[in-house]
């Protein structure tokens, strides 16, 4: 795996990406030639109507789903040639995920959830604790480390998920509708957290959303339609 993260290499590079699902032997074109390049430090929102391919694109970029044509590169690594376990390794090392729901392991405390992924990476126990604590601290969760997910509010849970996503220092943070289950106040709080992460630590973030409020926090707005990039604020300017 080449690991080229020089500043001129885009963090995400998608070229004519196609994803075709077979639904009862009828092909469904989830992505029909998507082109997208994201450079380090961008905070990108993916908007578009339901079924336009937002989630599919995020999953392809995150190595959760395969693709049928085109080229996808993440942090300099071309995903097309990787097998399932290499993709798992790529996710573990390079990508942080925040999902809409079922983000956390219910039987582990918030701290253990954050440490869990470091443990999978084989980080030593001492270093794990330090990194998990500072990640929780930076998200204002210092006091809640011992609680289990069930004992946390939806917003707190999502912040733990973000702490877990960034504790591995990934090149890219992917969030698929992270605010869909939150009320508007908590949504704003979470978006501020993401914005700070982007602005202060230079974390590259891509988030899929329906919500116009989300777009107001991002530095670049991309709209999808029928499996293609329809509008891109970066191209417009």
């Amino acid at each position: 795996m080449s690991d080229n993260t020089a500043s001129d290499t885009p963090v995400v590079y998608c070229q004519d990406v196609q994803r075709i699902y077979q639904q009862e032997s009828v092909p469904v074109y989830a992505l029909r030639g998507a082109n997208l390049t994201i450079t380090a430090g961008e905070f990108v929102s993916l908007a578009g109507p339901s079924g336009s391919g937002k989630s599919t694109l995020l999953n392809v970029i995150g190595g959760l789903d395969g693709f049928d044509a085109g080229e996808v590169t993440v942090g300099g690594t071309s995903l097309g040639a990787l097998n399932a376990s290499e993709l798992a390794q790529m996710r573990l090392e390079k990508v942080g995920f925040v999902f809409q729901a079922y983000n956390l392991i219910p039987v582990l405390s918030a701290r253990e959830n954050v440490e869990f992924i470091l443990q999978l990476q084989g980080v030593s126990s001492q270093e794990r604790q330090e990194r998990a604590n500072s990640a929780l601290q930076s998200l204002g969760l210092g006091d809640l480390g011992d609680r289990r997910p069930g004992e946390l509010s939806g917003g707190q849970q999502q912040r733990v998920a973000i702490a877990r996503a960034i504790v591995t220092e990934p090149v890219l943070l992917l969030a698929d509708e992270p605010t869909a289950n939150l009320d508007s106040k908590t949504t704003s709080e979470l978006l501020e957290v993401l914005q700070q992460l982007n602005q202060q630590q230079g974390m590259t973030i891509v988030t899929a959303t329906h919500d116009p409020i989300v777009m107001s926090y991002t530095s670049r707005q991309v709209a999808m339609m029928d499996g293609e990039i329809h509008q891109d604020s970066a191209m417009a300017s």
Partner: protein, 408 residues
């Protein structure tokens, strides 16, 4: 790697606790099944041990030596000398040896006449035979020179005689002629099984030899019965005795009582089959619940895959969870089984069914026997069943893709 396994173990344990309600019923089902089979198998084992003991203690011993032809034509003319040496090495420890004259005889009181076996014994030697279990009223035989009789309670009732009375015995002497002689009844014995009470009459060996005169043999006997410390030594001991005494017929209890030998052999297989039957019934429930546990957590497990956990680790986690449930249930079950067996204590009184029980060579009391080997065997088999059952949820877990973390 060890760290990762600890992590997965921890995760599995917590998941078991997490579904404690459902798992409790699973534990209970496993525990009852394992405990119940442990109990029933201990009774079967007890039956087997009892049959073996009955077979060995019923005068035959583990090994019996007789003169050739005696089995077909039991008479004193086919006697051999009691000076016959029995030499076995230290590897084949002997519990005891009994030398007897055992001849068909007729016993008569004033009222009745019956055919019996007249057995001349040295009472001191008979701690290895059913003789030791007799409850004697009146007096026991004092020694080999005691010329009185010890007869069974059932026989005494049939003959309508009692302790202190005289009866007449007719036995064939060494010269082939019948000897008719009056005997005094010293005591009446009560035996755990009925047949000795009806069929056996004991007297002192030396006294009987004197009565029947000899065949020019020093100290003649018709049988020499050897009881070993362990039945496992029987084949090699028999082999040795055959080499030492080519002039005698050496038979072990399996040859003398082939039906019982067959039943004893079948018991081992029966126990394993019985256990497997119960466990397979249990496996259906187990597999069902375990699959449900995995299906219910599709998104959660998908999330683990999405985060970068590979298939092998996911598989290990699911198998650990299943085996964990099994281990707890089986240990609880074995403990339950041990408790039940101890609760049964002395055993089950079968005297109500004693006639049919005796037909199977059993005594009227069924005492459970629990061996460490059996416990380990049940434990081991249960673990195998658990591993087998975990295959199905594991296969299901392998189908979980990282995409299933998504909420669709």
């Amino acid at each position: 790697m060890l760290g990762t396994l600890t992590l997965l173990f921890n995760l599995s344990l917590r998941n078991i606790v997490r579904y404690r309600r459902r798992n409790f019923f699973l534990f209970a089902a496993i525990a009852v099944a394992v405990g119940g089979t442990t109990l029933s198998n201990s009774l079967i084992r007890g039956w087997q041990v009892d049959m073996l003991e009955t077979a060995v203690s019923g005068l035959s011993g583990h090994i019996k030596m007789q003169a050739p032809g005696f089995a077909d034509d039991p008479s004193l003319q086919r006697a051999f000398s009691a000076s016959t040496n029995v030499v076995l090495d230290d590897q084949l420890p002997v519990a005891g040896i009994a030398k007897r004259i055992n001849l068909p005889a007729v016993i008569s009181s004033e009222r009745e006449t019956r055919g019996v076996a007249m057995i001349g014994i040295d009472p001191a030697d008979e701690a290895i035979s059913l003789y030791r279990d007799f409850e004697v009223s009146g007096e026991t035989l004092a020694g080999p020179d005691d010329g009185r009789l010890l007869i069974g309670k059932a026989l005494a009732e049939t003959l309508q005689t009692k302790i202190g009375r005289r009866v007449v015995m007719i036995v064939e002497g060494a010269d082939g002629k019948s000897r008719e002689r009056g005997y005094r009844i010293a005591g009446v014995f009560d035996s755990p099984t009925n047949w000795p009470e009806e069929a056996l009459v004991f007297t002192g060996l030396q006294a009987l030899q004197d009565t029947l005169a000899t065949v020019g043999l020093d100290n003649p006997i018709t049988e020499l019965s050897v009881v070993l410390v362990s039945d496992e030594d029987r084949p090699s001991a028999a082999e040795k005795l055959r080499d030492q005494h080519p002039q005698l017929v050496v038979k072990d209890w399996r040859q003398m009582q082939p039906q019982i030998a067959e039943i004893v052999d079948v018991v081992d297989a029966t126990m394993v089959i019985w256990f497997i039957l119960i466990m397979s019934a249990l496996t259906f429930g187990l597999v069902n619940t375990l699959i449900a546990t995995v299906m219910q957590r599709t998104q959660e497990l998908g999330m683990l895959r999405a985060l970068g956990m590979n298939k092998q680790l996911l598989l290990i986690q699911v198998v650990m969870e299943c085996v964990g449930i099994m281990v707890v249930g089986v240990i609880a079950g074995l403990m339950l089984g041990v408790l039940l067996v101890f609760g049964l204590g002395e055993g089950i009184d079968l005297s109500a069914f004693s006639e049919s029980a005796e037909a199977f060579g059993m005594s009227t009391f069924l005492k459970p026997v629990l061996t460490v080997e059996d416990l380990l065997l049940f434990g081991g088999l249960s673990m195998l069943v658990g591993l087998f059952a975990s295959f199905f949820p594991a296969r299901r877990a392998l189908k979980i893709s990282p995409l299933m973390a998504m909420n669709r």
